[in-house]
């Protein structure tokens, strides 16, 4: 499936927060729709499930949930589309996807539960590494 987003030029700025919100949801949907393709081209069946990928994408959206400036939202959308384009066009390699969206920044993603809430920084660091 050829990715057509490349041909589209930069859309005009969102005039209101409502419009930015609609665009964000549209983008989230298109990202979710591309998950089967991503699973296929990067051969991710044995490392991750589509739902895990989807929740990872959702987590990235939620990370910026507090932003209200439409210009910033537009910029983030643009960056996200660029990233999605790269992923779907196979401009990345398998270890990029695994490193960024499967393993995550804090060790294996399955480790980062809510169990550590209330633990001290010492304990959180202790679970990660011996050197802190």
């Amino acid at each position: 499936m050829a990715f057509t987003m490349r041909a589209v030029k930069v859309p005009p700025n969102s005039v209101s927060l409502e419009e930015a919100r609609t665009r964000t949801f549209e983008f989230f949907k298109s990202a979710c729709r591309s998950i089967p393709t991503v699973m296929e081209i990067y051969n991710l069946y044995d490392v991750v499930t589509p739902s895990q990928l989807r929740s990872n994408i959702a987590a990235q959206f939620r990370k910026n949930a507090h932003i209200t400036n439409t210009k910033v939202i537009d910029m983030l959308l643009f960056k996200g589309m660029e990233e999605l384009g790269d992923v779907v066009e196979h401009a990345k390699q398998r270890h990029h996807i695994i490193g960024q969206y499967v393993v995550g920044h804090h060790g294996l993603s399955q480790d980062s539960g809510t169990k550590d809430e209330g633990a001290s920084d010492f304990l959180k660091n202790f679970y990660k590494t011996n050197y802190f």
């Binding site: 001290s120 920084d121 010492f122 304990l123 202790f126 011996n130």
Partner: protein, 742 residues
């Protein structure tokens, strides 16, 4: 100088006449020798230049016992004051001139056979071997004259005549005295056309590799073996070009200090067998650390490459190990690569260990913690534990409501109130002042090889008498075996034994009691008898404390300093939760079968067999930890290599566990742990200092216990395998198979 010059000129001029062939090549890399004598005379007439400001070699210092004994000599025109009896070479070192040498070693007797240290002395007809020539008042020593240089060049040429040119495959390459000195003092070309001799390699055992063709017959190893190690194994065979070092008959070198011949060999003739072809010395990263395989705390340098410890070599510390280390210290490092615990593990219902995450392992331990009564919790620190982790373990157990925590080897009701009751009060170097030794239930040769070397040094130097009470032992100095059981001590204390008259006449008697006595039931009675003996021999005075305890393990002294003393005597028999922090030698037979055992440690050793949960920890080469040696000298290890797998430092594991168990300990950094330690035992933070004891046994209450008739037993069965690291080592296994005396 003129005479010497004339002599050498005469020699040179006679040579073409004796050998008039045109083929002859002459080597002259010292053209100044060809200057005519007039210029040399002119130099001598001019006043000497102002003395250069030089610092003594290797921190050499002079100590004048008596100011009348000082004499003045001139080294290269520079006046220097030295005590009478020093050699020319030592005078040059004080003056800051390093004389090249192969056979001379300042801790060994003088041989004077390599001739590399030749210097010129005014009014002497020939260059003199400075290592063997005593300095005389007013001597004018010249170390960089053409004659001295020519002499060194000639010696180098002779030495290299029979030395193979195999530096690229030689393990000494890069740290070889011969290599360095041939670059500095040797000729720039060779005129050797004949065949080199070759020598059969000797088998000295699993530790020392020999390539005897490389030997330059400096005899340092022979002198080390006979003088320091006290074994008559090595010797010189043959004369002239047939001269070789060997063990007269085919046998192995059976000394606990044999590895030191590797360090003192100036060439690659004796190298480390386990280290052979493993690394080059310039690839290695050196970390200055200390040894934990016995209670001496020898100073070592851990040489590592990447994540792997490649070798261990000694570091100079005059107070503890001088510049030697025992074979166990030097070669135990391959145990650091075997049998390691690298992941937290939980024992399943079917008895197999399953790897889990730290989160799960700590949760299981914390849950088990809360299912038992506080009095049923027991903690045992191991032989190799550092002070930080023992502090954390004691704090954790106290917070849980238990005070049954101790360090293995200290026995159950050890007296930790008086520091003098468990330390080597004379100090290791202080033992040199003793003129009589009484060894009670201890075999220093296997329990603390470096202390034994110190005793041997004293016995050889001052003819000190040694009395020994214990099982038949192989001590490598003259000693009198007084008996095997404690009843001999009673006889000595009551003055009925011939040894008591020797004791009364001794000026500085040193009584050394082995820590194996801590495990005996009648230890209080034995200690009170030993104190009576010390009183009788006047061994405890303000200027001399001769009542010593020789500890066995690196962790013991710090554990007693921190007060790791159990509350109840038989707490293991009723325990429901046992925390083993690297404790492998604790007897778990009487432990109830439903007890929950946590093993925190770095090796899958004896403690693991009974464990329910394994928490992997760091070994001494991977962590920063404070240790106190048997004389109370505080030192620390430094991390040389990263930890293995998912292991953590010991005190961090206990700190994390405390938080999961709901009783968080109030320290997050190693500095905070240490400040906690300072509130318990402030001297533990004075690194590289020896904190002497203040009170002595005199304030102790009288003991009314009866002494048993049981003879003393061997505490260390096998010198080479005493703890988890050495038991995992393949080299140590080979040693105990081949070298242990049966």
């Amino acid at each position: 100088m003129t005479l010497g010059l004339l002599a050498s000129r005469a020699l040179r001029s006679s040579r073409p006449i004796n050998s008039p062939t045109t083929f002859l090549r002459t080597i002259i890399s010292t053209p100044e020798l060809h200057n005519n004598t007039s210029s040399a005379a002119a130099v001598a007439d001019t006043p000497p230049p102002p003395p250069p400001d030089r610092t003594p070699v290797g921190g050499a210092r002079v100590h004048f016992a008596n100011p009348d004994d000082a004499i003045e000599v001139f080294v290269d025109g520079f006046p220097v004051k030295i005590p009478k009896g020093m050699t020319v070479l030592q005078a040059c070192e004080v003056a800051g001139v390093d004389i090249p040498r192969f056979c001379y070693h300042n801790r060994l007797s003088i041989a004077g056979n390599c001739r590399m240290c030749l210097v010129e002395v005014e009014k002497s007809p020939k260059p003199v071997a400075s290592c063997a020539m005593p300095a005389l008042p007013g001597m004018k020593i010249k170390t960089d004259t053409p004659i001295a240089k020519k002499a060194r060049e000639g010696v180098m040429e002779f030495l290299l005549m029979n030395h193979p040119l195999d530096c690229p495959i030689c393990d000494q390459g890069g740290e070889c005295d011969l290599q360095d000195q041939s670059m500095a003092f040797g000729s720039d070309r060779g005129r050797f056309t004949e065949v080199k001799r070759s020598v059969v390699d000797k088998n000295l055992g699993p530790l020392v590799k020999t390539v005897m063709t490389r030997c330059i017959q400096c005899t340092r190893c022979v002198r080390f073996a006979t003088e320091i190690a006290g074994v008559q194994d090595l010797g010189m065979l043959g004369r002239g070009s047939g001269e070789e070092i060997g063990t007269y008959v085919e046998k192995l070198m059976t000394s606990e200090l044999s590895g030191n011949v590797i360090d003192i060999c100036p060439v690659g003739a004796l190298t480390s067998k386990p280290f052979a072809f493993k690394a080059r010395n310039w690839e290695l990263k050196g970390t200055e650390s200390i040894d934990v395989t016995d209670a001496v705390g020898s100073n070592i340098r851990i040489d590592s490459r990447g994540p792997e410890v490649m070798r261990i070599v000694p570091r100079l510390n005059e107070d503890i190990n001088e510049e030697w280390i025992s074979d166990k210290t030097r070669f135990c490092y391959d145990g650091l690569k075997r049998q390691r615990l690298n992941d937290p593990m939980i024992r399943d219902a079917d008895g197999r260990f399953k790897t889990v995450s730290w989160r799960d392992a700590l949760a299981v331990v914390a849950e088990a913690f809360h299912q038992v009564k506080p009095t049923e919790i027991v903690g045992v620190a191991g032989k190799l534990s550092d002070a930080e982790s023992m502090m954390a373990l004691k704090d954790l157990l106290n917070k849980m409501g238990s005070n049954n925590v101790w360090c293995e080897g200290n026995g159950l009701n050890v007296n930790a109130d008086l520091r003098s009751g468990y330390l080597l009060n004379s100090g290791i170097s202080g033992l040199e002042n003793a003129d009589l030794f009484l060894l009670v239930g201890t075999q220093p040769r296997v329990e603390a090889a470096m202390v034994n070397a110190r005793i041997r040094k004293t016995v050889l130097a001052t003819q000190a008498k040694v009395g020994y009470v214990g099982p038949p032992a192989d001590l490598n100095y003259n000693h009198e075996h007084l008996g095997t059981g404690p009843e001999v001590l009673t006889q000595i204390a009551e003055g009925r034994h011939p040894f008591s008259s020797l004791l009364k006449n001794a000026k500085n008697p040193a009584i050394v009691v082995g820590a194996g006595i801590f495990e005996r039931k009648d230890k209080d009675a034995i200690f009170s008898v030993v104190e009576a003996i010390a009183k009788q021999g006047n061994a405890i005075r303000p200027d001399w404390n001769g009542l010593n305890i020789l500890l066995l393990n690196a962790a013991q002294a710090a554990a007693l300093d921190l007060g790791l003393v159990p509350e109840a005597d038989n707490s293991l028999e009723t325990a429901k939760f046992v925390y083993l922090m690297g404790a492998d030698d604790v007897n778990l037979e009487k432990l109830p079968s439903d007890a929950f055992v946590v093993y925190q440690g770095h090796h899958g050793d004896r403690g693991v067999y009974r464990a329910n949960v394994i928490l992997p920890a760091a070994a001494f080469s991977e962590k920063e930890g404070i240790y106190v040696n048997t004389e109370g000298y505080v030192q620390q290890t430094l991390p040389a290599v990263p930890t293995v797998g998912d292991a953590r430092e010991d005190w961090k594991i206990i700190r994390a566990l405390s938080e999961v168990a709901g009783v968080p300990l109030p320290y997050d950094t190693v500095g905070a742990v240490r400040s906690r330690m300072s509130t318990v035992a402030p001297h533990l933070l004075n690194l590289d200092e020896r904190e002497p004891t203040t009170f002595t046994a005199e304030v102790k209450p009288k003991c009314s216990e009866k002494m048993s008739k049981d003879p003393f037993t061997n505490v260390v069965e096998n010198f080479y395998m005493t703890d988890a690291i050495t038991r995992a080592s393949k080299i140590m296994a080979q040693c105990s198979a081949l070298l242990s005396k049966k």
